[in-house]
C-alpha cells in the first residue's frame, strides 16, 4: 500500500509560539487515520496546513503526491473537509448547500443531481433535502456536512472533531456513516476526535502533544504500551485462590480491596483456565483491558476530554491574538 499523505518535519510558529513542532508521519491509502491530542496540541493547525489554508513555517506536506504549498489547486481538488465549526449556509436548503459545493468543485453538470441525491440518501437526509439547514439539529447538520464533503469524490477526507457537541445517539449514528466511507467511497480518512472510544475505529493513530508527535501505531499497539489486561477475581477464599493461581497457573496475583488482581497478556484467553483451576471458589470475574484513554493519560499526563481546561486554550488564545495583530499589520 502506498501512502496518500506524507508529512515531513512540518513546523508552524505563530510569533514565538510553536504550534506544530517538526512532525512527520504518513497515512496509507484507504485507511482511517486518527490524529489525537489535547486542546491546543496542534491538530487543527496541522489540518489547516494540509488543507492549504495555512503555510507552514518549515517542512513539507504532500497529498497524493502534490505539494500542499505549491500545488494548492490540485490538493484542493483531492480533499474534502468537515471543519470543527459548522460551515453550512443555514439560509440555504440541504440540496442548495450541496449544489453550491458541486459547482465550486466543478462536478460535471449531468452528474450533479445524482451525486447530490446519492450523498443525501447515504446520510439519511434525502427526505429533508428541501428544508433550510437552519431547521436541522446538530447531528443532521453534521451529516449534511459529511454528505457535502464527499460530493466531489475526494481521495482524502478530513474530519476535524466531527462529533463535537453532538449527543451520544447522533455520535453513534455519525460514526456509522463515517466507518462505511473508506470502503464505499474509496477514500482515506484523516480525523481528529476528543472521544477516545471513537478513535477505536482507526487503523492507525498518531498522538500529538504540545506540537510534538509523541506516539504512533495501531490502537492495539498503543494499548500494549500501557501494559496488558487485568483480571479481577472475587473468590470465597482469596488466600487459597492466590496460592492456587501462583502454583498452578504460574501467574502473578495480588489481593487488593478484597479482590484478586491478576495482570496478564491476553485476559480473554486466560479466564477459562482460571475458572477451571479454581473450581467452585470463584464468585465473580471482571476483565479490564487498557483503553486508548489510558494510553493517552500515560503519554500526555492528561485525560483527553473536551471539557478539560488545559494549557491548550491559552495557546489557542495566543494564536488568535497573533492572527489579529498580523491582520492589522
Amino acid at each position: 500500500m502506498s501512502s496518500i499523505i506524507t508529512v515531513e518535519n512540518l513546523t508552524k510558529k505563530f510569533g514565538n509560539i510553536t504550534a506544530v513542532d517538526k512532525i512527520s508521519f504518513e497515512v496509507e491509502e484507504g485507511t482511517i487515520f486518527g490524529f489525537l491530542g489535547p486542546n491546543g496540541a496542534g491538530k487543527t493547525t496541522t489540518i489547516n496546513i494540509l488543507c492549504t489554508l495555512m503555510s507552514p513555517t518549515s517542512g513539507k506536506a504532500y497529498i497524493d503526491g502534490h505539494d500542499c504549498m505549491k500545488e494548492s489547486s490540485e490538493v484542493r481538488n483531492k480533499i474534502g473537509i468537515v471543519f470543527q465549526d459548522n460551515t453550512l449556509d443555514k439560509e440555504l436548503t440541504a440540496y442548495e448547500n450541496l449544489l453550491f459545493h458541486s459547482y465550486l468543485y466543478n462536478v460535471p453538470k449531468n452528474e450533479r443531481k445524482k451525486r447530490i441525491d446519492d450523498a443525501l440518501n447515504f446520510v439519511g437526509l434525502y427526505e429533508r433535502k428541501n428544508d433550510q439547514a437552519k431547521k436541522f439539529s446538530g447531528g443532521m447538520k453534521r451529516r449534511l456536512e459529511v454528505a457535502r464533503s464527499i460530493i466531489h469524490q475526494p481521495k482524502v477526507l478530513f474530519l476535524d472533531e466531527p462529533t463535537l457537541g453532538l449527543d451520544p445517539q447522533s455520535r453513534t449514528n455519525l460514526w456509522e456513516f463515517i466507518s462505511k466511507l473508506p470502503e464505499k467511497n474509496d477514500v482515506t480518512i484523516f480525523m481528529t476526535t476528543h472521544y477516545m472510544e471513537e478513535a477505536e475505529i482507526c487503523n492507525m493513530i498518531a498522538i500529538i502533544d504540545r506540537g510534538k508527535l509523541i506516539a504512533q501505531g495501531s490502537p492495539e499497539e498503543l494499548k500494549k504500551m500501557v501494559g496488558g489486561d487485568v483480571i479481577y477475581l472475587r473468590t470465597k477464599n482469596n488466600e487459597e485462590a492466590i496460592h492456587e493461581i501462583k502454583n498452578n497457573l504460574k501467574l502473578d496475583a495480588e489481593e487488593k480491596n478484597g479482590e484478586i488482581f491478576i495482570s496478564v497478556h491476553r485476559g480473554d484467553a486466560c479466564i477459562p483456565k482460571l475458572i477451571s483451576s479454581l473450581a467452585d471458589m470463584v464468585i465473580s470475574v471482571r476483565l479490564q483491558r487498557p483503553t486508548l484513554n489510558d494510553v493517552f493519560l500515560k503519554l500526555t499526563g492528561k485525560a483527553i476530554r473536551p471539557e478539560t481546561v488545559s494549557g491548550g486554550d491559552e495557546i489557542k488564545d495566543a494564536i488568535r491574538s497573533y492572527r489579529k495583530k498580523s491582520d492589522r499589520g
Binding site: C51, T52, L53, M54, S55, S73, E74, R76, N77, I79, I81, F83, D85, N86, T87, L88, D89, K90, E91, L92, E96, L99, F100, H101, Y103, L104, Y105, N106, R323, K324, S326, D327, R328
Partner: protein
C-alpha cells in the same frame, strides 16, 4: 481552469440571489433608508432651499439618493463576507479548488446585482417627485448604477477583508460609509465644500458615480448639478473597481 472559475462566480452570485429573494425583510429595510431621505429630508428642505436651484431640492437630491441606495446596499452586501467568516461558510469557499480572484469577483457581482435591483426600485419613484425621464435616460442611469455598484461592492470586499467580526461594524458605518455619503455631492454640490472636505470628496469614488447619475438625470447642464466631465466619471469608477478587486484578491490570497 477558466470554466472552474466561471462556475464559482456563477454559483456565488446565485447563492446571493436566492438569499436576497428569501429575505424580504432585508429588501424592505434597505429601501426604507433612501425613501426616508428622499421624502423626509428632501421634502423638508425643498421649502428651505428650492428657489435658487432652478429645480426643487427633492429633485436635485434624487441622483444622490440613488447613489445612496447603491452605496449602502453594495457595502452591506459585501460585508456579508464578515458574516461568512464568522459563520464559517467562507472556509467552504477557501478550500475549494477555485481562485481567490473568482471568489472576489463573484462576491462583487453579487453586490452589484443586489444594489442595482434596489437602485432600480428607487429610480422608479421618479414620477412621484415630478421628474420626467425618457426610456434612454433610465437605461443609462441603470448602466451607471451597474458600474457604480460593482465599484462600491469591490470596495466593500476590500474593507471586509480587514475585519474578522462584527465589532468593527459600527466603525465601518460611522467612519467610512456615512462620510462617503456626505462627501459625495449627494446632498449639495461638492464645489460648495471647503478645500479639505473638497479634497476628500475628490478621492471618494461615490462622488464620480453621483456626478454621472446627475448628468443622466439632468442632461441639460444646469447650475449646481454635475461637476466633472462624464468621461472622467466613468474612467474613475472603472479604474477604482479594478484597483479594489485586485487588492482584495491579493489580500485574500495571502495565507496565514
Amino acid at each position: 481552469m477558466i470554466r472552474n472559475d466561471l462556475n464559482a462566480i456563477y454559483v456565488i452570485v446565485a447563492r446571493e440571489f436566492i438569499k436576497f429573494v428569501r429575505e424580504k425583510g432585508r429588501l424592505i429595510s434597505t429601501l426604507a433608508r433612501p425613501v426616508l431621505w428622499l421624502f423626509v429630508v428632501g421634502g423638508g428642505l425643498t421649502r428651505l432651499v428650492s428657489p435658487d436651484m432652478g429645480m426643487p431640492y427633492i429633485q436635485f437630491i434624487f441622483p444622490g439618493i440613488i447613489g445612496m441606495t447603491i452605496l449602502f446596499s453594495s457595502i452591506f452586501s459585501s460585508i456579508s463576507i464578515i458574516w461568512d467568516k464568522e459563520f464559517g461558510f467562507m472556509k467552504e469557499m477557501l478550500v475549494a479548488p477555485v481562485s481567490r480572484f473568482s471568489i472576489v469577483v463573484g462576491k462583487a457581482l453579487s453586490g452589484t446585482m443586489v444594489a442595482t435591483i434596489q437602485a432600480l426600485i428607487i429610480l422608479l419613484l421618479f414620477p412621484v417627485i415630478g421628474l420626467k425621464l425618457s426610456i434612454m435616460q433610465i437605461f443609462f442611469i441603470l448602466c451607471i448604477s451597474i458600474i457604480l455598484s460593482f465599484c462600491l461592492s469591490s470596495l466593500g470586499i476590500l474593507i471586509a477583508t480587514f475585519y474578522e467580526n462584527f465589532e468593527s461594524f459600527s466603525v465601518i458605518m460611522n467612519f467610512i460609509v456615512m462620510p462617503m455619503f456626505f462627501l459625495s455631492g449627494a446632498m449639495y454640490p461638492v464645489k460648495l465644500l471647503p478645500q479639505i472636505l473638497g479634497f476628500l470628496s475628490m478621492i471618494n469614488p461615490l462622488t464620480y458615480g453621483i456626478d454621472a447619475l446627475k448628468y443622466m438625470v439632468f442632461p441639460e447642464k444646469k447650475l449646481l448639478t454635475h461637476d466633472f466631465p462624464l468621461s472622467l466619471d466613468i474612467s474613475v469608477i472603472l479604474i477604482a473597481s479594478l484597483v479594489f478587486v485586485i487588492i482584495a484578491a491579493n489580500v485574500f490570497e495571502r495565507r496565514k
